[in-house]
Amino acid sequence: MKKLKFYFSLLKERDWLEEMARKGYLLKNITMGIWYEFEETTPCEKVYEIESFACDADADREELCAKERAFEIARETGWEIATHDEAMNYYFVKDRAGDDSDEFYEDETSRRKKAEAVRKRFAVDTPKLLLSMLLFLSVIYIPLLFMLGENMRASLGLHRFYFALVVLEILIVVLSIYSGEILYKDMSLSREEWEQKKKYGEKKSFRKAQELLAALEEKDRQGLKLVCFEDGSYQFTPTNKHYRYYLDTKRALVKRCKERGDKFSSDRKDISRIGMAWQEQSMKEAGALGLEPVALAEGTMIYRRKAEDSELRWNEDIVYTTFGADVKTTLISFGALFLIGFVGGFVAAIFLH
């Protein structure tokens, strides 16, 4: 059986391959990373692992011998090589044991090290190669385009070809950097952590503060507490405690300061807004109320305290989360710009005629 599929995430690809094995399809071949060929067998429990053995331009002894070493040990521990693709990704497969031995890398340090190498390949090496290719092409093309007359240029369509190439290359560079980041995050997770992430992760964006609070309360009823917010996804973990959640935003903080009669002064050197002046001020005020900070999610501070503590009302007038408010401002400013452009164009057209 053949299937056309594309995954940015190695872990999602792995999951899908394992799901296919459960349905009775074993991976036989991959072409260009998207064209999967399967062999039909009886349904079975397998684990897959995808490992790259591309040779670095500056490989040392460790890297040069990595593939042979890996193959030798893999063979003895029950891993087979199903196939490999054009990017020298090798697909290892093994019967599922259901314990640590299913893990190719059982400790986080070695997972992270591997992940860093992959990130470098996608986010640094590939973009470098593509951009130098583009530079090389430009050296030939730009003089050529100037030398040819306008008629020739138009009839050959060379400029269009060049333009399309530039756009395509930039697109691939962006995609490569993006997938490098995703791969890095995925590859540092163990199988167990990944299962947790899938089970208790919630990829969602809340515009309204009350909706976010309601969602957190709902999770609390299910016995889950918020751990962190990462890549636009809220991560929860099971708990037997119950909490009440509170939010704070920079807007709310500035407003509170104004009401008290003092002014909130942020760090004046912090021009790119990477400091944590307002967050620190917010945590100080929340700490005085007995709230503990959990995470900064969608630009909004999330706090909680134990549900059995005395009732506390704080920041109940927040309407939008920071990102929610930002989306609103962006939409309004886009609308305004569009209107200005439209009116401006209209006026210009009247004057010109």
């Binding site: 002894r61 460790e62 890996a70 040990i73 893999a74 031995s101 190719f104 070695s110």
Partner: protein, 154 residues
């Protein structure tokens, strides 16, 4: 003691002259033999110091791997040894093991001693052995400190 050092220095100088510094360099700057040997020795000690730092404290898997390689052993043999020694608690992954072996060979903590029946066989080196002893001493100290504080508490 001094005599020994001098001897080691002479040996190193010969190796330096051909490997790192061309003969023209020497005549131009007129570096005396003792200078080179001292610098070389310091450089080597610095290198060893850096590598040592990398392994201190050692991960549990590295420690057990070095233990397993006091006798010549191959990849899967190391895995089995560590499993049995720790009562199935430490189960090394294939990926972790092969990357670690590669790094240990590069840092000369272990060497490959021929391919026995198509398998790579590894064994600990003198440096690896002294590193292992050092780690054992460190662990003992750590255990003693823990015992002192926790012992008082319990």
């Amino acid at each position: 003691m001094e005599k020994n050092e001098k001897k080691a220095g002479r040996g190193l100088t010969a190796h330096m002259t051909c490997a790192n510094i061309s003969s023209s360099d020497i005549s131009r700057h007129d570096i005396s033999e003792t200078d080179i040997s001292r610098r070389d020795r310091e450089g080597r000690m610095q290198m060893e110091e850096n590598i040592r730092k990398k392994y201190c404290p050692m991960t549990e898997t590295t420690f057990y791997t070095l233990l397993a390689l006091l006798e010549p052993n191959h990849g899967y043999g190391i895995m089995k040894f560590v499993r049995e020694l720790t009562g199935e608690r430490v189960k090394m992954g294939t990926g972790t093991l092969y990357t670690m072996l590669g790094r240990l060979v590069t840092d000369e903590m272990i060497v490959e001693v021929g391919n026995g029946e198509d398998k790579r066989v590894y064994q600990i080196t003198q440096e690896g052995r002294s590193l292992l002893y050092e780690e054992q001493k460190r662990l003992k100290k750590q255990w003693e400190n823990g015992e002192r504080i926790l012992g008082e508490e319990g």
